[in-house]
Symmetry: C2
Subunit: 731 residues, 2 copies
């Protein structure tokens, strides 16, 4: 049993479809301007190993291959059909495919859901046929498919290098651009490509699972305009990233981009910030620039090893060492602190004016002796404080810049670097300003699979991906997801009652839910009568109190005049209660008012918001941010898919830009970080345990050095039918 099967119990049906023994090309043509011609040429030129069945009622022979008048007429049973005909013909053809035993179809035509209501109807019709006849659909509106290791090339793309990068891209131009980049400046080739198009049947999660299982793919690379089932995708990504790197570029980081994407593949936008957070939580390397996709995939794919974020820089130019230091720090990486032993060894081989503090600047020591750079790399590789090694400067060009006689020494240096890369588990990344020239020493490193870049920024981007992946793999093992909570029957009844009454939870019910699962919620009492009011005064003693209306009909309590703060003594409480009731009745004379909630005022501290939403794409998501303008104006919010691990909870606090406020700014003491992490975890577990909970909003929670106070809690109840827990876990 291979490790992949260990993680993913069933095998993707795509293996059969993407490595077919035969293919029907429906709409095959002898006209060179037609897609049905190009596909034929691609299949023949690339030496497709299976049978090719051109389908065209008007031709006997296409490109020298016998053509068939219809799918039904094909003598064999190919697993795959490529359909090159216009949109309107597709539903009928899918049915024909199914009747002939064809398992999968690639639909090139556009004119479906991405064009509006009429197209969406046609897409539904097509899917009805596909489901009725058991045909899996790639597309529609796809740029095509290739599987180079099977010599299946339905794109008629010339000169694509075969290799181990798998690509799923909703942009055909993106594939083309990556292919050209790889061919001219890259070090990798491709295994499988699929354009998911509108994903009306097979979606990103299925494709990713396939790439995870595919033995020819060492890194999965995705250009995504929109996920269909984001939650499923995250689950698959979690499994796949444990085995191999996954690189995702998600478009729609701005409103302008979201609008453009929706007219391209009809993709649902969703929040970009949330998407990025959730993908990273699942171990995905998210890249933000399209020109970083290939370098990052290349670096992760070539190296297949990743440790932490402490980088040792070896440089032969002080200016570029400075640039590298800036970029590393900005990327959240650190300059490894070299041990005294390491520095001593460096001093022994370098000129006295060299800097042996990281970034190491050889300051001329290597001008006549470039292989010394490899020696320096060996020295820092032996240092336990170092996770990865970054060579910056002229290497490869010494024999060009200084003297041809240096070529031998430079090649010896390259050989030593190759040896080092085999001996160490620390990744080596090289920036050389001679990269565009491809001199012999760089060619040697290139052959050996050491990633080489032509820009410091690209190199650092790769180092960041390596560092993050290294950390992720370690932390994943250290921190499994927190175990699920056992839902309590009496709370289930609370939800059932609210659902029956068509309302959300009352604040005190919401707080009871939290309290029952170990979240500290300040004491409070529902006061419905003078007697209860007197009891509340007796219970809370001298402390100043807060009072809030209790009504299922009043959502915005402050607006209704339903909140009074800092009340002291029974008389004041009574007056406040009367004013609240009067004001709320004036606000909404139909509102059913149960009474008021009385609780001691919270201690001063930092206000934060903890929320749960059910995202239409990603399902239950925990949200955390500082209160007020931080969330609303600065959008300084972190998201994690529920359920969280302890590391997830901690990292979402660390991610907040204003985290220094939590650590204790301006002379204030820091807040109790562990209590906050525990709170986030428990909220995650509650949301996981009660599917009846649709949304939750703790706003604000007041944090201080001694813990926290949940000042306000809202729970929105799911109105739709809910699958029982048993059904869920069986699914």
């Amino acid at each position: 049993m291979n490790p992949i099967e260990g993680h993913l119990p069933t095998r993707s049906p795509l293996h059969e479809i993407l490595a077919p023994s035969g293919i029907a090309v429906v709409g095959a043509s002898s006209d060179p301007t037609k897609r049905g011609y190009k596909a034929m040429v691609g299949l023949i030129k690339d030496g497709f190993r299976g049978a090719i069945y051109p389908v065209n009622p008007k031709a006997d022979l296409i490109l020298g291959i016998e053509a068939w008048p219809s799918i039904a007429a094909i003598p064999g049973t190919p697993e795959l059909a490529l359909i090159c005909t216009p949109a309107a013909s597709v539903p009928g053809l899918i049915a024909e495919c199914g009747r002939h035993g064809i398992k999968g179809a690639v639909i090139l035509a556009s004119g479906f859901a991405e064009t509006g209501a009429e197209g969406a109807e046609l897409e539904r019709e097509m899917m009805a046929q596909a489901e009725a006849h058991g045909v899996r659909v790639i597309g529609p509106n796809t740029s095509g498919v290739f599987n180079l290791h099977h010599r299946l090339n339905l794109l008629a793309l010339d000169n694509v290098k075969s290799g181990d990068v798998g690509i799923i891209s909703q942009s055909g131009n993106m594939l083309l651009s990556l292919a050209l980049e790889a061919q001219y400046n890259g070090q990798v080739g491709f295994s499988t490509y699929v354009g998911p198009g509108n994903q009306s049947d097979i979606g990103f999660n299925d494709y990713l699972r396939y790439l995870g299982e595919d033995e020819h793919t060492r890194v999965a690379t995705l250009y995504v305009e929109g996920f269909r089932d984001g939650r499923k995708f995250l689950e698959v990504a979690r499994d796949v990233t444990a085995m191999k790197p996954v690189v995702v570029y998600k478009s729609g980081s701005t409103e302008a981009g979201q609008k453009a994407a929706s007219s391209h593949t009809g993709a649902l936008a969703g929040s970009y910030a949330m998407t990025v957070d959730l993908l990273r939580q699942a171990g995905v390397s998210v890249v933000h620039r399209s020109d970083e996709i290939l370098p990052v995939a290349e670096g992760l794919g070539l190296l297949q090893k990743a440790r932490g974020k402490r980088v040792a820089v070896i440089s032969d130019g002080g200016g570029q060492a400075t640039i590298a230091s800036d970029r590393l720090a900005e990327a959240g990486l650190t300059l490894a602190e070299l041990s005294e032993e390491t520095r001593q060894k460096l001093r022994e081989v370098l000129f006295p004016q060299a800097s042996t503090v990281n970034p190491v600047d050889v300051a001329g020591s290597t001008d006549a002796n470039p292989s010394l750079l490899a020696t320096c790399m060996e020295i820092v590789a032996a240092d336990d404080n170092v996770d990865s090694i970054f060579l910056v400067g002229m290497f490869g060009g010494y024999s060009i810049r200084f003297a041809e006689s240096l070529l031998g020494d430079e090649m010896r240096g390259a050989e030593a670097m190759v040896d080092l890369s085999k001996a160490t588990d620390k990744p080596l990344v090289i920036y050389s300003l001679y990269t565009p020239i491809k001199p012999p020493a760089l060619r040697r490193l290139h052959e050996a699979g050491i990633p080489i870049y032509s820009s410091i920024e690209q190199s650092v981007r790769v180092l960041r991906a390596l560092g993050e992946r290294g950390d992720y793999l370690q932390l994943c093992e250290q921190y499994p997801r927190e175990p699920a909570l056992e839902p309590k029957p009496e709370l289930g009844e609370t939800f059932a009652r609210a659902r029956a009454e068509g309302r959300d939870l009352f604040e005190y019910e919401a707080k009871q839910l939290l309290r029952e699962h170990g979240i500290e919620v300040p004491q409070e009492r529902v006061v419905r009568s003078d007697a209860e009011l007197a009891e509340a005064v007796a219970a809370f003693g001298e402390a100043p109190l807060a009072m809030k209306v209790v009504s299922k009909d009043i959502l915005h309590k402050s607006d209704a005049g339903g909140v009074k703060l800092n009340l002291m003594g029974e008389a004041a409480l009574r007056r406040a209660r009367d004013e609240i009731l009067a004001s709320c009745r004036a606000y909404d004379d139909q509102a059913e008012i149960e009474g008021v909630l009385v609780a001691p005022m919270a201690k001063k501290g930092v206000e934060v918001i903890v929320g749960v939403i059910r995202d239409p794409i990603f399902g239950p998501v925990l949200m955390f941010g500082l209160g007020g303008i931080f969330v609303e104006i600065l959008e300084d919010v972190a998201f994690r898919s529920i359920p969280l691990s302890r590391h997830d909870a901690r990292s979402m606090v660390e991610q907040i830009k204003a985290r220094k406020v939590l650590e204790g700014a301006r002379g204030e003491p820091g807040i109790d970080m562990e209590a906050l992490v525990e709170l986030l975890l428990t909220v995650s577990r509650i949301a996981d345990a009660y599917p009846e909970l649709s949304e939750l909003d703790l706003n604000p929670v007041i944090l201080n050095a001694d813990g926290y106070a949940v000042v306000d809690a809202r729970v929105i109840v799911e109105r739709e039918p809910i699958a029982s827990h048993d059904e869920e876990s069986a699914a």
Copy 2:
């Protein structure tokens, strides 16, 4: 008189030094590993037009050229000496140069101030000789100099393309990397290069002025680790950017980078954020990634035209149109809103499924007809809402991807784009995924000087630089700097008194300074006696009052218990006064206490900070930010060099990330923006008029819809002697 001379009255002495009729190479050598050999080779190979005088006591002939035993022995008087000998020999050689009439020297040796105290002493010694003998110094610790249009190449760098990009770089590797990039992937070449090294004599401002005046330079490009005289540099930059683009990469954006830079060229760090703000204020195009330096310089240099920020995108791929839209929005550019007329014209030439909303997606219309892309560009170029045009996709590769027969049409398209680029004042920028292949159509555009990039991100970076430069040139004309204030004699006396007493201004004096120049400062009274207290009560009536201690010795009034708020009635005021005095005496029993300041409480609003600092590198700088954690934790602060223009003041408010708080968030009304702009301008003019003002801190100023209230004002008085205004303006 050329326009350059119109701006800069005197001509830089560098013209003579960098275009010498002869050059002495001190330390010239026949040993190929020596710098003194390489320089000779470079001069000879590049065909230097003047006389070459190798100086070496041990040789008669170097590389076939007669050598001289000493500088004194040289028969002619070269303007320039290249000194290749070790640091210790330099002071003596400089003196010799001066005695022989040599005007300038390039000092390659390192081992000066960048290495510590001993080196700094040697540098001072060298400068003493240089000043005594009238020799201008480039370096020391410089990588060298070239002036390709004069065939002066002291770097022995092969294959550097001659062109119109001038480069000043404190990193030799950076020059080399730009040269290689230009040679292999670029469209430009170089005019002059100087490595300023330690800038012990000639600094960045001098070099920039030279490039501004140099007729062979169309764009000045600088890699800077540190400025020596930042204020002078800003002045020169302001003049030069009015004539030609200036591109600056400033290293040290992080602490790690600042540390690395200081061990490289001994550069003073300074605040990166401030440096960027001030450079941009002077019209400089600041780039943050080192791999964006050449693309931006290239785009600005090639096009020499720049308008605003409204970009029209023409694309043949929906995915890449989406990526372009995201990047443009993130860069602060906008997708131009195409007029109905433009959209109609596009509809007439494109397929029905094409999107004629910007980004224009031709959706297959050009597959058999690539020149249609040029037609689309012509159509959008005619739209008044469009400032620049961005072509995204496969252009240049249609004949490769689809059919060779398309080559003719593709070339016609290129020709039409060349014609358009000549006819319109709107810049055209092209991203093609075929850029690495350099196909014929792209070569044609290349020859015509239309910038072509291999990444969407790089293209957008160039479009941003173009948009910002266009806006800058327009706004500069529209908004000159605000005229200086006339300082008032009585306020001059206030400063003189404070200086004589060795103290800063009292708060009421600081407020008087503001008030006298038209800044609205709430009424307040200094209370020294019970009688004055009664007068204050009478003057302010029923309003709640604030009270603060007045003492030159107590800086942190709150810490000393010297502030009380919300006081009502004479009894409360009296009690508060007594408590403040007691508390302040307990805090510092030596403190001289003048009394207390009484003022009405400020209305609620948004707290901001307005400050003036005298930066050691850049001189007087205005600072603006929101109060509290915004400044201290989020570092959300804007800086401008004083004096400001009205546009400067407005843009610094717009730059703040939390500006939405000012515009009125969470149901609050927005603040009075014009009053704020006026306040910033007046503070700038006050700081400009009173050189005795060393620092100013208005913290907080409370802004609301009706104006603002300066709640606290501190003015730090300059302790050092001050040049009089007359002297200043004469200098």
